[in-house]
Symmetry: C2
Subunit: 106 residues, 2 copies
Amino acid sequence: MPFIDLATLAEREMAPGFRARFVHTDHMTLAYWHIRAGAALPDHAHPHEQVTSLIEGAFSLTVDGETRTLAPGGVAVIPPEVRHSGRAETDCVIIDVFHPPRDDYR
Amino acid sequence: MPFIDLATLAEREMAPGFRARFVHTDHMTLAYWHIRAGAALPDHAHPHEQVTSLIEGAFSLTVDGETRTLAPGGVAVIPPEVRHSGRAETDCVIIDVFHPPRDDYR
């Protein structure tokens, strides 16, 4: 079954203000986030390569000590084990893609 | 440099009505598409795993002989070498993610 309607997937609150639906494939995990204004992501790292795409809103992201406020069209490429943190300046819609899959999000 | 503003990347017309900007990482390629209503993608396959996320519009996608019209929140997971084709029912914004990277899109 190749087709998924995200609306049929349960949304999970992974941290205060960070709600996501996940699609796990053989090689990747996609996280479709709705993030509440003011919610903050503590500094962390993981072995997965990550690409963050800002769809709606404004999200202040720090990657390896460099900070940028992402607006729609803003993308961040976060290599494995690179520390990152962030804060939603407004309500946000973000898509994160990870390789390999995030088994810790299953 | 982890941050990319898609507006600074050249948009390429990969097929009539299919314009994209690409972000290539070590393990993935992300394609940010603007597709014109009526544009059609011929049946094809490739060795990359693909995940298609419909952001705006309506796109009729056929994967391995099964057809669905994706609306926002619609996702398709296309395994390697599985044939797929499609048609934009309206102007569309779509994000495709591929693993491994699409060297043919560099």
